[in-house]
């Protein structure tokens, strides 16, 4: 059975998404897996508004409250040895309760440490990355594409990362 993209969405949002115009098709980038997974170092990225409490500031929800058609385009980093109690979450569109209980439902730091220990993957980057998914209405992802995405890619590449697993919010 194909996945129903709209199953868990309120009707009004589902209708809105389905009515948005199709963008012109762009070529899809493609980097062949450079080596077997057991030799690949992984980076983890989510768009769920997670941050390292007490070390980095939360995302700018205050501005979003004042200016509801704007979303914070910056990112935060979470060290691979972060404790659950140090994980913060800022997001006005999704309930934060469950991820504050278990970060692995979106940023599977601990699962990947287990996979690396078991030899399924080669390793895990020292830091995981989190964006805040809502990029305004109408969505403007240019800062992600031009500034923050390339910056994260460069930081990951500098650590020798080959592969990235991303989770949406």
């Amino acid at each position: 059975m194909p996945v129903d993209s709209f199953k868990f969405l309120p009707r009004i949002i589902a209708a809105f998404y389905q009515m948005t115009d199709r963008q012109p098709e762009l070529p899809i980038p493609w980097i062949r897996l450079p080596r077997p997974l057991a030799e690949c170092k992984f980076g983890l990225v989510t768009s769920r508004g997670l941050y390292h409490q007490g070390v980095e500031p939360p995302f700018d929800l205050e501005r979003e409250r004042q200016e509801p058609t704007w979303g914070d385009p910056t990112y935060r980093t979470l060290p691979a040895d972060i404790r659950q109690a140090e994980v913060g979450a800022s997001h006005l569109h999704i309930n934060t309760r469950d991820v504050l209980e278990d970060v692995d439902i979106l940023l599977p730091i601990h699962r990947f440490q287990e996979l690396a220990a078991g030899g399924r993957v080669g390793g895990l980057a020292s830091r995981a990355y989190s964006f805040m998914g809502y990029q305004g209405y109408p969505a403007d992802t240019s800062a992600w594409q031009e500034i923050y995405g390339p910056r994260v890619a460069a930081e990951l590449a500098a650590e020798g990362v080959d592969c990235v697993l991303l989770t949406t919010a």
Binding site: M1, E25, I28, R48, G133, D162, T168
Partner: protein
């Protein structure tokens, strides 16, 4: 998020996106996607269910290993163990997001217009 997958791949990394909305992955053109019928904010499973999380991650790794062409979307057979209505209430914020005040009237108007267009004889 589909945009970030494209951006990281374009910068030289092999990526796999785990999402519950293959609709956007397909529209935006994501290199490799594992689609799951899981509620928002729970893409890899339920809190403290490491077995379920590992099963999903393993499926994502398999997509990374086996996808042959850009735009690959694999649909996971995983089933969310909580009934739909309850799951929908669970993931939503306690108060509507600020943009809903702007968005709701516009969407309702778009829905009215689209119904008008569909009416025969007009």
């Amino acid at each position: 998020m589909p945009v970030l997958a494209r951006t990281l791949e374009a910068a030289g990394l092999s990526t796999v996106l785990v999402t519950n909305m293959p609709f956007w992955a397909e529209r935006v053109g994501v290199p490799r996607t594992l689609a799951l019928e899981f509620p928002f904010g729970h893409l890899l499973g339920q809190p403290h269910d490491a077995v379920q999380q590992l099963r999903v991650i393993d499926q994502a790794l398999e997509v990374l290993e086996t996808a042959q062409a850009p735009g690959a979307i694999v649909h996971s057979p995983e089933i969310w163990p909580v009934p739909r209505k309850e799951a929908m209430e669970d993931w939503q914020p306690q108060e509507p997001s600020p943009v809903m005040e702007v968005l709701a009237p516009r969407v309702l108007e778009m829905m009215r217009q689209s119904r008008r267009r569909q009416k025969p004889g007009f």
